[in-house]
Structures are given as structure tokens and as C-alpha cells.
Symmetry: C2
Subunit: 314 residues, 2 copies
Amino acid sequence: MDNRAKFSENLSNLTYGFVGLGLMGGSMAKAIRKFILCDRKNVASHNAEGKIFACTRKESALQDAKSQGIIDDYCVLNSDNEESIKKMLGECDMVFICLPPKNTIEFLLKNQANFKPGSIVTEIAGVKTGIFKAFPNGIDGINFIPGHPMAGNEREGFAYSDENIFQNRNYIFLPYENTDKEALESFKEAMKLIGFTNLIVTDWKTHDHKIAFTSQLCHVIASALVDCAEDTQVTQFGGGSFEDLTRIALINAPLWTELFCSNKAELIAHIENFEKSLDKLKNQIKTENKEELCATLSEVRERRAIMAQYMKKR
Amino acid sequence: MDNRAKFSENLSNLTYGFVGLGLMGGSMAKAIRKFILCDRKNVASHNAEGKIFACTRKESALQDAKSQGIIDDYCVLNSDNEESIKKMLGECDMVFICLPPKNTIEFLLKNQANFKPGSIVTEIAGVKTGIFKAFPNGIDGINFIPGHPMAGNEREGFAYSDENIFQNRNYIFLPYENTDKEALESFKEAMKLIGFTNLIVTDWKTHDHKIAFTSQLCHVIASALVDCAEDTQVTQFGGGSFEDLTRIALINAPLWTELFCSNKAELIAHIENFEKSLDKLKNQIKTENKEELCATLSEVRERRAIMAQYMKKR
């Protein structure tokens, strides 16, 4: 029997692997169970051969996922279980590494020889510089395709995972030059099936530059806005604006510390551009230059309306 | 017959007046029709004596409001109709002036003697300095109670008005020292009936200081963020954060130019506080001071979680 992963087969017959089963890993596993494999609750219609295996640090998350019919088998992610993890990786056709960025690189360096030949292996780190510095030419023998699902929420852990958070969202794929086209197409097809509608293929430098703006800069601004509030009851005077601007300030501090610092150069440049725009508006207000201020705001409205065309409806 | 407005009566028997029937005036008129007066569509249950009169510049809005059963009678707001407007104001127990701030003051100065004796008259300007400078002691013979419904959306005009935008929102009341308690209670009761759940009584200086933070600063930040974007297609790389932070950048430029400039001192002070917090975060990132950065973000998360307790669920 040929042990190489085959993507010409139906996606519902593949074996999926998750390393990390928190909010993102959990949500993706649930979505694959629901939208690609059949739902175990509906036994009558269950004829797909596909499976989901998972490993993560927290055994309780794995137990919950198993009892909910999301995963078929698991092992706890720790140094005692290296052999079980190796065995699990060797059986998976498509592996999602959903760990914090540094742990992702460590895991990949340690396990790069343990994946099933020809399998698709992806990771979801929010900054790609470190990944591409560690693996400038991919990983031998497999289809290593870094990616970035542009979804999530301010919660943490498998308990909050939700199979529906990917609907109408953007997925960014970062294949290598020599990435197998068929493997990339299968990966994209799977991500479409779980809800992503806007699939973008780009390189890591573009990714880190754009993401520093749409994601990291926004998190810095939201955090600064909460930080500068005089008191924590000011929201009694709120009408929704402050709430919207600071939702993402319910931030996972260690994760975002790592993301901000690992994309420092891009992020600082965006912060400084933002400061220039803020300064322009501040001076127009300070000098009561109503004509220029109104022109700036009109242009802002127009730009935001154009941008809305590139946002998916949710 | 005593012609003075009486608030001991049921709110469903009062005559309501609207000056300005755009997004806010229209939404409030619709909400009063639905939640205080009975719905005209349901003729069988229509036994309240209450009425709604309106004047606004756009005749089409008035015609639409009348044909939809929202208002009972109207006149167009222009200089040819001064006598009709005077007659209308003389019949209303509770008048909502829903014009831009400057027009509000002009209208009040011109019509202050035309209101029904003892009636409640309110306005909804986003900055109160100008109102309280023009009327430092209120308006003789009536209960003039400035207010601020903390609701709305980025759209404009009666066509987009919606009776449900006030559910669970904050309403700020700015009575004068000598405001009649019974009149204030009736006004609050009416606002509760149309959906507001958090009713705050404060003075205009506190209002302008807090609103400069929760509303105006947020609009400046959202506008600066759109202004500094390199291109209008960057949102293809978005995951929701940029969208959330810039929804309010679909800004009504002339209105916000006026609001920003009329609350300049408070707003500039808040912008500068925000810049300090942003600078602190920028330097922690620049120097990769991970310990301090993580501590700042942890504190931000904690503060935002406390703030959430003072936000109403929507």
C-alpha cells in the first residue's frame, strides 16, 4: 500500500491532525468535523472514512473534544509522549499546528522528520518572519504551507472554540515556490468548505507588512485607548464607539507581546504613519481649520466606503 | 381650560413635537409611536390620545413619516412657515430638537417664547458647551432639559431611522438646578419606555469631558487609522479588527467637524493622553521590553474587563 498522502481523494476520507487544541485549533477541528467529515451525532449519514487526531497540553480539552465526537483519538502534548506524537503525525494527511508562534517553530524543528510523506502541514502563526527564517526552503518530503486564518475572538481555550467563526473570513496562504499545486488546491478547498470565502496567496514579507497594519496596529491602538482612560466607569457615557474600538483590548498579553516584538520593524513603521495622521487631525482641530478638517473627514469617509467593498459581509 | 403641559397624565396622552426628522429625530419619533403611543396599524387597540407633530427641512421625509403613520401632522421647516411652526410648538407637551448643534441654538433662540408653557423641551447636541453658554439659566416658562441619547449609526436621514436603536443604550440628562423634578421624571420615564436602560444625570462640563473621550476621541482615532492606510484594498488581509476600529470612520464630515471644534480643549487633552499611552507601547515594542509590554497588556485586559461591566449588553 502506498503510504503517501493522496489529495485526489475526497477530503472527507482524509486523516486530519491537530497540534494545539485551543480556541483556534478547537474551532478548526470542530469545523472540519461539521463541514467536511460528517457529524458523528448523525450516525445514519456517517459513511466518510475521515478521522481527526489531536494532541495538546491540556488533557481535559482532549477528553472534552473526544466526548463531543470532534476527535477520534488523542495524546497529551508533553515530552513523555514523543513516540505517540510521532506515530500520530505519521498517520495524518493534513496537520494543523495551532500553537503560539515560538512553540510552533520548536515543534516543527523537532518533528519535521515525523510527518507522513507527502502530507500537508500548516501552522497559523500571526507573524511569519520567524517561520520562514527557520524554514527558508520548506520542509523536505512534505507540503509545508504556512497559513493565516483571519478569524478568532478575544477568548481563549477549547471551551470557547466555535465551528462558525470562519464564515466569510479571509485565509492567507504562504506557499513556497516549489509547493505542490495539487496539495495547495486541496488545502484551499478544505478551507473553503469550513467557511472561508476570500482565499489569498502571498509571500511572507507582504503578509507581515499587511498584517502589521490590519491586525497588530489595531491591537496597539485599542490597548493604548484603554490604557489612557481616566477611569474604568467612563463607559457609562458610551454610545458604542469606545466599545467597538476596544473589544480587541481584551488581549492575550503573552501572545501579543510575542507577535508585536517579532514583527517590530513593520509595526513601528505603521504606528509612526498612524501618529502622523493623528497629528494632522489634531492640528486641524487645534487651529480650528474647519475647511481642511472637513475635507480630511470627507476623504476618510470615502476611503472607508471603498474599503468596505473588500470586506466580507458578516 | 388650563393650557399648561401636564405630566401627571399618562405619557400616551401627550403631544410630542419633533424639530428635525433625520436619523435621530426619525428614530425617536418611530420609537415613541411604537412604544408609547399605540401603533396606528393596530387600529382596534388605538385608544390613546397622544399625537406626534414634526417639522423638518425635507418635505419628503415628513410625507413618508405621515404615510407610515408615525406622525399626525407636520409643517416644513423654513422661514416661510414661521407661524405654522409657532402654532405647532404651542401645542406640544414634549419637544425634541434633533438638528445639528448650531442650528439647534439658532432655533431655540428664535423660538424660545413659542413653546407651550410648562412643556418639556430637549435637544440632542453631542457637545453642550454652546447650549449652556447660550442658555446659562435655562428658558423661562418651560422645562428646558438638554439631553444626549447615546445611540445612532453611521447612516443619515429619515429613510434609515429605526425605532430599535435605543434598546439598552445610555441616555444622559443635563437638567438645570431649578429644573422641575416631575418634568425630569416624565422625560426619563419616556426615554425608558423607548428602550434606554442606563439613565445618567450630570452637568454639561462633565458631559463634554466624558463624551470627548468615549465618542469624539474614538472618531478621531478611527479617522486617523483610515487616513494612514497605504491602500484601500488592505482589508483583504483583515480579520475583523480594522473593520471594528473604523466602522465609525464612515463619518458625517460637516457634523463632526463642528463637534470636534466646539469641544476642542477637552478633545485635544484626550488626544494627547492617548498619544502618551501609544508612545509608551511603541517604546516597549521598539526596545523589546517584553516584561513591561506584557505587564501593560495584562493591565489593559483587566481594565477592559472591568469596563465591560459598565457597558450594556447589546
